[in-house]
Symmetry: none
DNA sequence: TATGAATGAGACTTCATTCAT
DNA sequence: CATGAATGAAGTCTCATTCAT
């Protein structure tokens, strides 16, 4: 199974024109969130940044939180792609260790958060405030499923529920540490990758022992 | 009662009264934050919840963020107390292991977040948005110092800077995992404590190895 | 040189619709100031009087003081136009006397304050409280420059600084007397014009003598 | 007739204690007005400045505007005293000129405004906003009466009404010019006194000619 | 469909005044 | 009388959303 097949197939937007507009708006939203933070994120600012009228924004997004949801979904999809690649690599190396697979997970997570750190951080805040529409949940559960798949191979006797919990915790743990590292500026260093891997392995070793 | 006590003018006859008002307001703020989240947190709601006029709120707190800062400070102080106890216990048992000390740290953090989980979670959001006045920073650095002290005993060769980073990361890691656990409802279980301890030890083992 | 040339070129307001809205708001502001005085002047009242929402008001004016500044600017521009005409008339009659020129100044000032006496009076108060943005200063200095030009012709040996002071004082003097006259209701009478002219000439004769 | 006799006899406040409190409050009000301007003038600030509770302030003054009225009345009384002296001096020199008498008027007005220039200026603003209670009117009409008396001696044929108008205008004129001079900082200079005197004489010469 | 002017609920904060102690 | 905590109306400004053009 390839990374392609793992990813949810994308719906192709109807018109090229509207697709361009959606892209413009989403990118503007991302920029506003990065530059002005959660506090300065508002529909008027996004529309202005996009060089588009508020009316158009509302044509494509039912409201402010839909914008956040879309940003969220896109971020998740990026992560999903990276994870899919990680899973593929892991499954291509059957005799590797758990630590090696976990390292792949860590690398994917680091790469993801480093792409647009300010964006992901601000997004976290907004997501907590708004209850996410079901849309983003789908991608989120796919992410979790991939992590389950990645770590599940090396933790055979574990119940599916326990694996799910472990996957969710692993992601949360990774995000927290990467946020700190990004803030400090050492997220790219191998030493940080090692620390993150260590934490994940420490966590998983206890899970496995139960 | 000494002559001093008799002669000293009462600082404020109404101190008991205002102290009660402050408590009422702070508690109301906590409740609003717990129930309505960061989005629903506003001065009018807090005043209403406290059964007090907005004016009174502003008599005791210069503004909304002062309220958040106070809530933050109090939370941090609670953690500080727990951590202090943990450090004391750790230093009273010199031949213990790093894992035992880390478990104490985990317990303190769990106990802290479990006291008012929704509050601490919402507080996190608000803190990210508002830049906290220096007051809370003081307590925060005390917390970090305590963690440094706790884990530093078992990681002798480490540079102070590396220790500080490790302490900050440890706290962030713990918060993230505990948030997840609280949301799931198993934060109180020994198994969770073990997992958190495992994650922290995994992280620190890598730090120590460098 | 014509009065037109003397006046700063006006920027043409962009759209017909927004121009109408701006006019509506400004006129409402003027009316509120006239009717309720400085104390009753607030953004809600202005918006209500304009039959417009507060939001619209803030779309066109960044705040309360911008409204005051605009009112001020418009008043000053009216005076500017009258003064320009006075200067033109004076310069067209080279063998006239200082008294004749001063009379023109008095007439212009009287005409100005009589247009909307209550407005100008209330505006004075507000200007004193709020420090005016630089915009209105521009017009104010143009006014002063015109007065300098008007009276300077008949007071040749005077230093520029002294002339500036004389111009500012003349305007202040005129405003004060006209305020009184407006309150009494005789601002339109020739006798008042004569008294004002007399006061100005009395002032200037001393200035000239130095 | 002496200056004493011209002044309205003061009522002696009942208790020494309350008199002291009134003095404290009034002086605090003056200071607040001077330092914070009309915008920053509020009852709480005055009470705090006076080292007194708001309640006490309201014990002695029915409200904010009563405070302003008192400040106003006191300022007027000071002017009244100076004017009384000026009148006395004028009446002691029967063969003087109008210009000499007017100079005395100018001096008195200058001395008055220079005593606490910021206070008098801010007071002007407040008076315009609040309609003065009848209390201050009494002193004001006494002031006017004194000016009438001062200038009436040299303008024999004038109707009482015309004299009243001339007196009011003269005071307004003087205040306006002195305000300007105070702002510039040359109110104390003899040259300014001469200019003010010139303006007043110019005004009065026209009045007399009618 | 695109526009962007218009809306108005609601957030924050101030301050004149009252009243229980 | 003195106190000062408490009140709440009123004012300033923002921003998500709608709707006429």
């Amino acid at each position: 199974m390839t990374a392609q097949a793992i990813l949810t197939p994308r719906k192709t937007p109807a018109q090229g024109r509207s697709r361009a507009m959606v892209e413009t708006i989403v990118e503007a939203a991302a920029r506003v969130l990065e530059e002005a933070g959660a506090a300065g994120f508002n529909t008027n600012a996004v529309a202005a940044r996009a060089g588009v009228s508020v009316g158009s924004l509302y044509q494509y997004f039912p409201g402010k939180q839909a914008l956040v949801a879309e940003l969220s979904r896109r971020g998740a999809e990026t992560l999903l792609a990276d994870l899919a690649a990680a899973v593929e690599a892991a499954e291509a190396a059957p005799e590797g260790s758990l630590r090696e697979d976990v390292r792949r997970l860590a690398q994917a997570a680091i790469a993801w958060q480093c792409r647009r750190p300010a964006l992901e951080r601000a997004l976290d805040q907004m997501e907590a405030g708004l209850d996410l529409p079901t849309d983003a949940r789908g991608t989120a559960s796919q992410i979790q499923a991939l992590i389950v798949r990645l770590i599940g191979r090396r933790l055979p006797g574990l119940a599916p529920d326990a694996l799910s919990v472990a996957a969710a915790d692993s992601l949360a743990l990774a995000r927290a540490l990467i946020d700190q590292a990004v803030a400090r500026g050492d997220a790219h260093e191998p030493a940080f990758e090692a620390r993150l891997t260590g934490a994940l392995c420490g966590y998983l070793s206890v899970v496995a022992a139960v």
